[in-house]
Amino acid sequence: MENHNINLTLNIWRQENPSTEGRFDEFKVSTSPDASILEMLDELNNTLEAKGERPIAFESDCREGICGTCGVVVNGHPHGPLPKIATCQLHMRTFKNGENLYIEPFRAKAYNIIKDLIVDRSPLDKIIQSGGFISINTGSAPDANIHPISKETATIAIEAAECIGCGACVAACKNASAMLFVSAKVSQFAVLPQGQLERYDRVQAMVNTMDEMGFGSCTNTYACEAECPKGVSITNIARMNRDFLNAKISSHALHF
């Protein structure tokens, strides 16, 4: 078979554990343009293991862009330079033969590096645990359309719920702010009738946790929206700001 492989120089962040200092290691690879970046790293790891060297640690799960597990910064862009894809959907044909690639972990004060390209994104889970749910007994399956919801409202909720929680918005933001993630998780409930009961407590609790976890504040630059693999809109951030202000005025909870 004819060889269409392209040659790339990879500069990959290596770090043994959270407390050691990291560095960039250089690797020269020949890879198929049809390989995804994760497949290319798999191949590289096979080579490294065959030589008895430590493979590069990175995360992945579904490899079809819906689970939000994979996520690295490639040449300065979270999930690589193409819009609206996760790292696993980034194929090597995106790059030119002979190109230099810088592969780095998502960087933020709130994300500790566990190893190489793997970061601890549990602060995002902590935010969800503080209010990203509805506390109703769901019981057995309800009748369909028991709550009439307009097409427009359903679309807003579903578009917010498209967020896969990958945390690329934090990685993209110059302030390492998680506002796009949090606002999507607030909005998906805030526009639906089921979310009304806890609407104002939810937004305050989640914003407080977001601040405690060490994420930055939003300066409305919108880099997050540009880099989001699902194209989650910054109108969600406006909705969260509005709900937060309304909560301060009309919430019954005294402890916020």
Binding site: P78, K174, F215, G216, T219, E227, A238, F244
Partner: protein
């Protein structure tokens, strides 16, 4: 800690302070620009405007104190937010391109803000202080025309007014985003209005030094 101070310590609370003070300062600039434009009516007209403000006495002082507070709060919260945010990524990226995807004006908000702060100090010393406490009973019109005859001073003034335009290009629409007043119906109008205001303020304030510098060197 009361709910109020707790609320204003949150990230969104701090942004709300920036928004409210920012919008009030925008209204001040609007009035300031309108006042400046009386200079196009000639020396007598401008002096009449200045003496009208003076004749309001304590009301003017009340407004001055309010303005000073607005500026102090806006600057204090702005710098504090910038410092807080600067430490949210302790290890920087080797290659960082995400910031290049955003609007030019959004990239330099606190930097243009610092330029405006430097200008504010110079502006208060060279106009306000000199007029109020200069002691020689000079008319403000004469102070203004003397300063703008200086090319360095005029250039400095114009550069800062461009920075002000950039600051407002981001700041105006940003205020509505922080308040949550966005909608597909009116957000495009707010964005266009923000751009118009940025140009209006940038050009409007710059016209005065340009005119007086050229009339000084033209001798007319």
């Amino acid at each position: 800690m009361s709910w109020l101070s707790r609320s204003f310590k949150t990230s969104i609370g701090q942004k709300l302070v920036m928004t409210i003070t920012g919008l009030l300062l925008f209204f001040f600039l609007f009035v300031h620009l309108a006042g400046n434009f009386t200079i196009w009516g000639g020396e007598a007209f401008f002096t009449r405007y200045v003496s009208t403000l003076e004749s309001l006495g304590n009301f003017t002082h009340f407004i001055e104190v309010g303005l000073a507070l607005l500026f102090i709060v806006h600057i204090f919260f702005g710098l504090r937010l910038a410092l807080q945010n600067a430490e949210k990524r302790p290890i920087q990226y080797k290659v960082y391109e995400s910031n290049n995807l955003i609007d030019f004006s959004a990239r330099y908000t606190w930097q243009t803000g610092v330029l405006i702060l430097v200008f504010l100090v110079v502006h208060l010393i060279t106009f306000w202080y000199l007029y109020k406490f200069g002691g020689e009973g000079r008319e403000l019109f004469e102070i203004v025309t003397t300063w703008f005859a200086n090319p360095l001073y005029s250039l400095f003034y114009i550069i800062i007014m461009i920075a002000l335009g950039i600051h407002l290009q981001h700041g105006f629409q940003s205020a509505f985003q922080t308040l949550g007043w966005t909608h597909p119906k009116f957000t495009p109008i707010i964005e266009k209005l923000g751009t118009f205001i940025a140009w209006l303020f940038g050009l409007g304030f710059s016209l005065i030094p340009i005119y007086f510098y050229f009339s000084a060197i033209g001798g007319n």
